[in-house]
Subunit: 363 residues, 2 copies
């Protein structure tokens, strides 16, 4: 199937106006596309570099009508967009990626089941609604394990660790009655992720695997190349391809893995997927000719996918809360590529910017 | 002198809303600054990625008052801004670079005299107001020579070549009564330019010299590294430093040179300077951690100047008029970094976008 790409000057709607939308909007502009941001917060980070913002809730009917009228294609920058809003839009114009991927990504249980059904490995897991489910689940996973709400969790929110059986009650209580999933604790050597893209024609390609370090459940650094060998890249790409084809996916997505040592090699266990550009792919903007943001715009507009080659080694570091105040010092560093998200207030735990330090390519 | 840099969230006014303003606005956003564009054309390319546009003439008093009220610093993206407007703003807030550089850059005669006074070489030249001036000037320069209006010429406009004495009358007529300068024709081996920056603290640094090819008087390609040796880089930087200090310059500027073979070496003759980011520096966005656009924003906000190191070799090619329609094919090329300026209409001779092709660094 070959479809003519959207003409420059066409409008891309982006649901969500945070830093991911901001970087998408700039990538769209560089390819000559206009952008319309839907976000309830006035002067959202993305809106500051977009042609237009609709200030409204994500499921506001008038706002969605306006999006459908103004835009040639719609995408989203976070996975907690109401599925009903995306389905409503999908009936009127292309939404890429669509509601199918969104539904899976909004539910940890569907996500893990999909990965396992596609032949990928995951940590042992079991669904938990009641106290007796939890007992059965602990028998499956063993301890320690982590209980997580199936929906709306991010950056460690909605999670409770169970180290000994007597932690079970408190963990279940922390779920506040929401459907949950118990996952076996994985003794991983490192966490890695792959940022891949599937084009309108079905082609899939991926950037180099990044090695990620989290702090307080929030991504701290992503390093490329990772410590893993080329076989990890092959494994990761294979899993990404299977997921993307299964979901009829169009656009960029991320798959996060635990890498477990297995003799001389590593096995990758799927942790979770994100149906969008991803924090662990920000390094591509500094170290590749085509960034994950441009790649996503290329995919959803029907342009050919870009080359994912990397010209430099790099380490991306998030600037969280008042770490953003170090930007003046960072600006003195050789090879530092700075990105400030234009957020007015530096609350603790809030992603305010990032810096990618590039160095000569070694591998 | 050490001044605290402008805080993120501060507003930068940009006079002129073309592609240079567009790339400046995106660089400003990446550093967390807001932008206000002054341009008479609604939805100007820069305004599409800026926080705000004031749609008015460059010398509109109400618009200038609004700029002064909204902005913390003002800059410009083209050198034909009315000097009076910049002087009016300068009395109220920092304008970087200021009116001093603008006056020189608006007058070819002042520009060449300054270069010569600073010890740089230029082609032989002489001022021409009348027919008898022209005879005297031809005696200075010899033939062939090029007669150019001293003001408002760009991309070959306002120029007439004099090959034989009998071409003189027509050439003078082409100046339409404007003050002109006759320049000796230079048998150059190549044309090169240097993109340099001077910070608030007086530090000066430069990107690698680019080798430029023009077609129909419009820049066609810029290639880095150039064919010239490291001595050309040293020469070019020396001249740039002298000019910048002389003008108390703050920001990025370009100096274009003719490179003339001189035995094993090359001599550089100053052709002209531009008190702004420059088309022959667009390659920096694809091949350096810090682009000329970010460098300019760093300079005018008081941030330290960025490292000008280059991670890749590259060739930047302008996409003029309907060449922009090839963007879909270019998107299939490995290593191609695309920039589309968001202009609605592809008129002949109009700069619509550019592509930078990066390859592994060789020198």
């Amino acid at each position: 199937m070959s479809v003519a790409p959207l003409k420059p000057g066409s409008a891309i709607g982006i649901i969500g106006g945070g830093q991911l939308g901001r970087m998408l909007a700039m990538a769209a502009a560089r390819l000559g596309y206009k952008t319309v941001i839907l976000d309830p917060a006035p002067e959202a980070p993305a809106a500051q570099v977009a042609n237009r913002q609709i200030v409204a809730a994500y499921d506001d009917p008038a706002a969605l009508t306006q999006m459908a009228n103004l835009c040639d294609v719609v995408t989203y920058e976070f996975e907690n967009v109401p599925v009903a809003a995306v389905e409503w839009l999908e009936a009127r114009l292309p939404v890429r990626p669509g509601s199918k991927a969104l539904k899976v990504a909004q539910d940890r249980l569907l996500e893990k089941a999909m990965a396992r059904d596609l032949g990928a490995q995951t940590a042992l897991f079991a669904p938990v609604a009641t106290r007796s489910d939890l007992d059965a689940a602990m028998a499956v996973t063993g301890l320690p394990a982590v209980l997580k709400t199936t929906r709306l969790g991010y950056d460690g929110k909605g999670q409770a660790r169970i180290v000994r059986p007597e932690d079970a009650d408190a963990a279940l209580q922390a779920m506040a009655g929401q459907m949950a999933v118990l996952e076996a604790f994985v003794h991983f050597e490192c966490e890695v992720s792959v940022i891949a893209a599937r084009g309108l024609s079905g082609e899939v390609c991926a950037f180099d695997v990044a090695e990620n370090i989290h702090r307080d459940h929030i991504l701290h650094t992503s390093k490329v190349p990772s410590a893993l060998g080329p076989e990890a890249q092959t494994q990761a790409l294979g899993i990404a391809e299977a997921i993307a084809s299964h979901l009829d996916y169009v656009g960029v997505f991320a798959v996060e893995f635990f890498a477990v040592r297995d003799g001389e090699q590593h096995r990758l266990l799927v942790n979770e997927m994100a149906p969008r550009v991803h924090n662990s792919g920000h390094w591509t903007e500094a170290a590749c000719a085509v960034s994950q943001f441009e790649q996503h715009i290329r995919a959803i507009t029907g342009l050919p996918l870009g080359n994912t080659g990397r010209h430099s080694d790099c380490v991306m570091e998030n600037l969280i809360g008042d770490e953003i105040d170090t930007i003046g010092e960072i600006a003195t560093e050789k090879g530092a590529v700075i990105h400030h998200y234009g957020k007015a207030e530096a609350r603790p735990g809030r992603k305010m910017g990032h810096v990618t330090r590039i160095t000569q390519k070694t591998a």
